[in-house]
Amino acid sequence: MKTTPKIYAKALADLIEKNGASPELAAGFVRILRKNHQEKLLSRILDLCEKILMERRNEIKIAVISPRELNEKQMKNFEYFVRESTKKNPIIMQKTDKSLRGGVKIITNDYMIDESISGRLMDFARHMVKS
């Protein structure tokens, strides 16, 4: 049977939960992948493993992209808002992207909320072309 990245990720997540992450575990896992000639799946497996672990630990990873760095108060407010609305512990990663011009873009798992100025302008351009 073909071992899919999902199966690998689940196995790796189980091992990490049971024994904790260690260099030996990582080396052993890479050895298995190499033996099966599936090294190039590694990054996908790690992404999936991270998702599985987060789900089990009731965590949510959120990327907040803004043109300028958010201050401490804004971050705290945001964290509070996410915790209240999702009932999960947020792991917030902050990124800056000046091309957004203003507003904020929030990315979590497979979803994105685009509240940036550049996103709005793109929507506006699309609307004008369409109508």
Binding site: T4, I107, D110, Y111, M112, I113, H127, M128
Partner: protein, 500 residues
């Protein structure tokens, strides 16, 4: 003419209509991009054939939905799409603009104009992939598509709603037959769609110019995915053309669609499939190559009057290599279609044009749609030509031939001559009936074979000028009644007196 005030007010209205609202979008991340194919993770709810939007504004077409990735082809410029880019799910199934505004235009497979005649305003969209009408919506083919080509209309008749394959080697006149058929639809209340797949742009430009010159663009749409277009657009082109035709079909109109050619379409699909890592089969084509063409050609149909009564006639073209009909794609398409017109290089170089091999060409349903007059005389003609071909082979070995054999050979030679036809010179059906009647009934037996072409041309002129009423009766009644036959005989005899 629009004034500046009206432009400003329409812009104001557009701006006021724009409602900015925060919405959650489903996204994925590009993990591989190259050769017009993209693989992305995420997009867990992506649908098959859904449109995906990349960061650079180009669209992709989701074709492979795998366990944790989505494989998509890029519909346009793939440059600028890189690993890590965000790809958005649009929630829309790929569809193309349809409507009357497309008539007379040259568009790409996404329905965008390519002729520099300005934007195409259309508020209706049809999905490119659609399940063909079912059995209860259909009725059998009963009306003819007059191609204007004597050899086809007499011996390989095509009906409205039929799928007739045009097959042959390169440079044998496949496109010429399709274009002549489009030209002959002038005034026939037929919408024509010519889909150029992987063709040279110069060839397509020549066709567009020719159709424009003859006023045929008034009822024609040209869909172009040229040789320089990505494989994704070449793959999409016939489905787009078909969707555009289905709009008119739904309105109860008759549509003729030419797919030029499906060999290149299969090659484009093979390229996409191999890049999407689908397992290759025979000739490296993927396993669903038969379904690729069958689902397209099944969309050609003749609808029951209860459901609008429209028809969609398909003329797919296949290019063979060195006359090999047993290759994978030709056999597939031959088995899907309702007959084929087989063109041969040898005949072409002998000067028999259209270079139709009458023995290998067949129309499985078209004879039901043939007009009665043509049906009456064509049966005799087919028999005489078959006998001529058989006798011609034996006649090569013997020098002394009896009178009846010689007569049959002469008759066959004359019939072969009248089936020769120049490009862009379609013959109206009543004239076709008149000349075939004259030859098969022995009226031209005393005309030397070398003079038959001249005889035919002058006879056509004579009929249209001196016997216009007879021709009109023949065209309207579509039948060789006793009265018409008598008048036709008289016309032929009168013409023979003046023909020198």
């Amino acid at each position: 003419m629009e004034t500046s005030m009206s432009i400003i007010s329409s812009l104001k209205k557009q701006i006021s209509d724009f409602k900015a609202s925060a919405a959650t979008e489903q996204i994925g991340t590009v993990i591989e991009a190259g050769d017009g194919v993209v693989r992305a993770t995420g997009l867990a709810n992506a649908k098959s054939a859904e449109l995906l939007e990349f960061e650079n504004g180009t669209f992709g077409w989701a074709l492979n939905l795998e366990e944790d990735t989505v494989g998509a082809v890029v519909l346009g410029e793939a440059q600028g799409i890189k690993e890590g880019d965000i790809v958005k799910s649009s929630g829309r199934i790929l569809s193309v603009p349809v409507g009357d505004n497309l008539i007379g235009r040259v568009v790409n497979p996404l329905g965008q104009p390519m002729d520099g005649k300005g934007p195409i305003h259309s508020d209706k969209f049809y999905p490119v992939e659609k399940i063909a009408p079912g059995v209860i919506y259909r009725k059998s083919v009963d009306r003819p598509v007059q191609t204007g080509l004597r050899a086809i209309d007499a011996m390989i008749p095509i009906g409205r709603g039929q799928r007739e394959l045009i097959i042959g080697d390169r440079q044998t006149g496949k496109t010429a037959i399709a274009i002549d058929t489009i030209i002959n639809q002038k005034g026939e209340n037929m919408i024509c769609i010519y889909v150029a797949i992987g063709q040279k742009e110069s060839k397509t430009a020549k066709i567009v110019a020719e159709l424009e010159k003859r006023g045929c663009m008034d009822y024609t749409i040209i869909v172009v995915a040229g040789a320089s277009h990505p494989a994704s657009l070449q793959f999409l082109a016939p489905y787009s053309g078909c969707a555009m035709g289905e709009y008119f079909l739904d309105k109860g109109k008759d549509v003729l669609i030419v797919y030029d050619d499906l060999s290149k379409h299969a090659n484009a699909y093979r390229q996409i499939s191999l890049l999407l890592r689908r397992p290759p089969g025979r000739e490296a084509f993927p396993g669903d190559i038969f379904y690729l063409h069958s689902r397209l050609l099944e969309r050609a149909c003749c609808l029951d009057p209860k459901y609008g009564g429209g028809s969609l006639t398909a003329l797919p073209i296949i290019e063979t290599q060195a006359g090999d009909l047993s290759a994978y794609i030709p056999t597939n398409v031959i088995s899907i279609t309702d007959g084929q017109i087989f063109l041969e290089s040898d005949l072409f170089y002998k000067g028999i044009r259209p270079a139709i091999n009458v023995g290998l060409s067949v129309s499985r349903v078209g004879s039901a749609a043939q007009i009665k007059a043509m049906k009456k005389i064509a049966g005799k003609m087919r028999l005489e030509l078959a006998q001529y071909r058989e006798l011609a082979v034996f006649a090569q070995f013997g020098s002394d031939l009896d009178a009846s054999t010689k007569k049959q050979l002469d008759r066959g030679a004359r019939l072969t001559e009248i089936l020769k036809q120049d490009q862009y010179e379609p013959t109206p059906v009543e004239l076709q009936v008149a000349i075939i009647y004259a030859v098969t009934n022995g009226f031209t037996d005393d005309v030397p074979v070398d003079n038959i072409t001249r005889f035919m041309k002058e006879f056509f002129k004579y009929c249209t000028t001196s016997h216009s009423k007879l021709m009109k009766d023949l065209r309207d009644k579509k039948e060789l009644t006793e009265e018409i036959e008598k008048a036709l005989k008289r016309a032929i005899e009168d013409f023979k007196v003046v023909f020198k």
